[in-house]
């Protein structure tokens, strides 16, 4: 009896092991040579380019659609649906010539009228598009014929071509809209004019794209299927990358960065990125209203070199300007004290602090708000101690849920110093400088300077690119001297790219079209 039981138990164990290993067989990563697995940190709000907003949505939309203009893998501008274009001498009229073989995924030709229809829908209040004001410089679009589109501008807008790479300006197929209504952007009903079509979307899990046979450049598209996996946690994404389930990650977790660099250094891509991390002041209330000395003192007392090296630690560059380096036709102007050593900066900061009326007996008492995140917390802690050590400021750190912080920043009631950031929408200094113009919704500090606004206005009127650039640089210099905010560092883009992926190019916009990538066979 006993013996019998023992044998049975052993048999059971064998069975269990067999089951587990059988599961393992089918669960291993799929290394098909024609499927690319990419990680994105959140679901797109929508794949209707007019209802989308996030960077993640734009990443997926760049695989599905195509604007008049596009980018190469290295981030150089190139023809998209338009094969070429002419610009009038005054810079106000652009004529685009569409490719004769540009087609929708159902075989219909992509016409100039589809672009006109797209922009009209974008600005229609009923669409309620987030990017409705994106094209405010465009006066008129005219479809001269099926393949010729004229865009007339209110003012010379050198970044127009850059805008035309953005999903918000992609063409729309009117037939698809009238057939499926507002919910056309779903698998099975969405028409696309890009390299891929949408074949599946499980919210919270994965978006599946397949080759668009009708795409004009289909012959040069290497990968048949692209899966954008929604992975909200960076650590999970890293684990899935290591397990071979994801070929390209959207990020790299801060805590594992050093280890990743050591172990997967050749697969790690870190590149400059048009993204500024800054602290804003609430300029509509004391202590920062009308106190540029105090604003400058706090800005100078931050040792940015130390922050990027020891705290953020993922290859970021210290920010002494508002516009990041790497922007087309622009040389960022830097804060006046950028050339000084930190010791010297601290000394000046101390005297400015006194000038503003504070001292050891009467220290500034301050609240610093940031949204819940490990990186933000560590930076805030470091800056808190720098301000205490150099100036004697008593800082209370307040960590808030993101939506709460945003609401507080907008209300301008309780905030004093707050964390924020800005990602460039296009490769032009305007995308960074315009947000600090009076009345701009993204002008969260509430900065308002007549001189700055006038310089920005003058820049906008220039046809000559070099003169425009001078005005923009002058505007930045003027604004930096007012210290409406503290630029802290410029983010870098961080991706792990599997060795089996070829054709990857680092670029400042951090755009990586799947159509430019290919997979090595047999790996």
């Amino acid at each position: 009896m006993l013996r019998n039981m023992r044998i049975r138990r052993r048999l059971f164990l064998v069975l269990v092991l067999a089951t587990v290993s059988a599961c393992g067989g089918s669960g291993g990563p799929e290394l098909s040579s024609s499927v690319l697995n990419r990680g994105i940190s959140s679901d797109p709000e929508s794949l209707d380019a007019h209802k989308a907003r996030s960077l993640q949505a734009a990443d997926v939309l760049r695989d599905l659609g195509e604007g008049l203009v596009s980018f190469t893998a290295m981030g150089e501008m190139t023809g998209g649906t338009a094969e070429r274009w002419d610009v009038s001498e005054d810079g106000l009229t652009y004529t685009f010539h569409l490719r004769p073989d540009a087609k929708w995924s159902n075989g219909d030709a992509v016409t100039a009228a589809h672009f006109v229809f797209g922009v009209e829908r974008l600005v229609d209040p009923d669409t309620a598009a987030f990017y409705a004001q994106f094209v405010s410089e465009i006066n008129e679009l005219e479809a001269v014929d099926e393949r010729t589109l004229i865009i007339r501008l209110a003012r010379p807008t050198p970044y127009l071509l850059s805008l035309l790479t953005h999903p918000a300006t992609f063409p729309m197929h009117p037939g698809s809209l009238s057939e499926h209504g507002d919910r056309f952007a779903r698998p099975g009903s969405m028409l696309s004019n890009g390299a891929y079509i949408l074949t599946g979307w499980i919210p919270g899990s994965v978006i599946t794209l397949q080759r668009n046979e009708h795409y004009w450049n289909n012959a040069n598209t290497a990968i048949d299927e692209v899966r954008h996996h929604v992975v909200t946690q960076e650590m999970t994404e890293l684990a899935r990358y290591r397990a071979g389930e994801i070929d390209v990650t959207g990020s790299v977790p801060p805590d594992s960065f050093e280890q990743v660099k050591k172990e997967l250094g050749d697969q790690l891509h870190v590149a400059p990125y048009l993204n500024l991390y800054y602290y804003g002041y609430n300029l509509s209330k004391p202590p920062f209203k009308d106190s540029p000395e105090l604003r400058q003192a706090l800005s100078m007392a931050i040792d940015r070199e130390l922050l990027v090296e020891k705290v953020s630690g993922r290859g970021e560059t210290p920010a002494y300007s508002w516009v990041p380096p790497g922007i087309n036709n622009y040389e960022p102007t830097v804060l006046s004290y950028a050339g000084l050593t930190q010791d010297k900066r601290n000394q000046i900061a101390q005297s400015l602090y006194k000038e503003a009326g504070y001292s050891a007996d009467k220290p500034l008492i301050l609240e610093l708000r940031y949204n819940t995140s490990d990186t933000h917390r560590r930076l805030a802690l470091a800056i808190q101690s720098m301000w205490r050590d150099v100036l004697g400021v008593e800082v209370t750190l307040i960590n808030e849920e993101f939506q709460v912080l945003l609401a507080n920043i907008q209300a301008r009631e309780v905030t004093q110093v707050f964390r924020s950031s800005w990602v460039g929408d296009y490769n032009d200094a305007h995308t960074f400088l315009s947000i600090l113009q009076s009345g701009n919704a993204a002008n969260v500090p509430g900065y308002s300077s007549e001189k700055y606004d006038a310089l920005m206005q003058s820049a906008a009127e220039q046809i000559d690119l070099d003169r425009r650039r001078l005005y923009l640089e002058e505007a930045e210099r003027e604004m930096l001297a007012d210290h409406p905010a503290i630029p802290i560092y410029f983010y870098v883009s961080k991706h792990l790219v599997s060795p089996r992926v070829e054709g990857w190019g680092d670029n400042v916009l951090d755009y990586h079209y799947s159509q430019h990538l290919s997979l090595k066979a047999g790996e």
């Binding site: 291993g28 684990a239 397990a243």
Partner: protein, 307 residues
């Protein structure tokens, strides 16, 4: 009996109404709105979007609009997933959460009861000590620690199982989430079973049965197991609750598009309709289950009906 059932049904309606109104007021009271973002919207664009979702109306009017939608069975559109309705998201999320939850409970009962029984029979032995220390560890280590460790070992190092939900089309993707979710429950049930079994085995009727010459196997199966199960059964309620809440973490870690993940994301994004929809869905579910239990009690025990 019919009258009793009807009365209970009527009683459930105010409860549900109260839940809806409270939940509505609470999600709207949270600071920030569904369309707030670091990239703040120009005023007229923001106004457009608020108008499109009727967020510009007074709260009472919004509540009225929402309730009248509910009466027509419409949970509204999701604010964050602008291409999907709340009903669609619940319809895709709930079956998954349910499957994983049920599998985890089954696994917990199976492994928990058998290992607890074995430990009780070999009380004080090496086997008993091993099982119990496993159980202690299982209880003390939280899900968000267990999950990454299992992933690291079984997915990253050994490549036996997928690390994330969307990483495999087959059934293998269920293994890690179910084990992670079941682990603390296995531990709890094993300890409960062991303690209960030891107590039962020490009782007179067992001694009598043994004296009559019954084999251990029969003794356990016929006499001891039933009374042992009582505390385990009463633990099932809390276990199901723990699995429901635990599923939030597990779904997040493994990227399972279940209701738990939608609920958390919805709350963080201020996706009012999605959060409300899930609250109402769960409330209805729980009220219905309670109602069924009450009615069944009424069937079994006539005294309940007369009260």
């Amino acid at each position: 009996m019919l009258r009793y059932t009807l009365l209970r049904l009527l009683g459930a309606i105010p409860t549900l109404l109260l839940v809806i109104v409270l939940a509505f007021l609470m999600v709207h009271a949270a600071p920030g709105g569904p369309f707030d973002d670091e990239r703040a919207l120009p005023a007229d664009v923001a106004a457009n979007i608020e108008a499109a979702y009727h967020l510009d109306e007074p709260l009472a009017q919004q509540l009225g609009r929402y309730m009248s939608g509910l009466l027509r069975g419409d949970l509204g559109p999701s604010y964050r997933y602008r291409d999907y309705t709340v009903a669609e998201l619940i319809a895709t999320g709930f079956p998954l959460s349910l499957q994983i939850g049920l599998l985890a409970i089954l696994l917990a009962l199976l492994v928990g009861i058998s290992s607890g029984t074995v430990a009780a029979l070999r009380q004080g032995s090496m086997l008993d000590r091993i099982v119990m220390s496993f159980a202690m560890t299982g209880i003390s280590i939280p899900v968000f620690v267990v999950a990454p460790v299992l992933v690291l070992l079984l997915a990253v190092k050994l490549h036996w199982l997928p690390a994330g939900w969307s990483g495999s089309p087959g059934a293998a993707k269920y293994v890690l989430p179910v084990i992670t979710l079941a682990l603390p429950q296995i531990a709890y049930i094993a300890r409960l079973t062991r303690a209960s079994m030891i107590e039962v085995l020490g009782q007179d009727f067992i001694r009598t049965a043994r004296a009559q010459g019954l084999a251990t196997k029969t003794l356990i199966r016929v006499h001891a197991l039933k009374p042992t199960m009582l505390p385990v059964l009463s633990y099932l309620g809390p276990a199901i609750a723990a699995i429901l809440t635990g599923s939030v973490v597990v779904e997040e870690v493994f990227g399972i598009p279940g209701l738990g993940q939608f609920f958390v994301r919805g709350a963080l994004n201020r996706d009012y309709t999605l959060v409300l929809g899930i609250v109402i869905f769960y409330a209805t579910l729980i009220i219905t289950l309670n109602l069924l239990v009450d009615i069944l009690y009424g069937v079994i025990d006539p005294r309940v009906r007369q009260r």
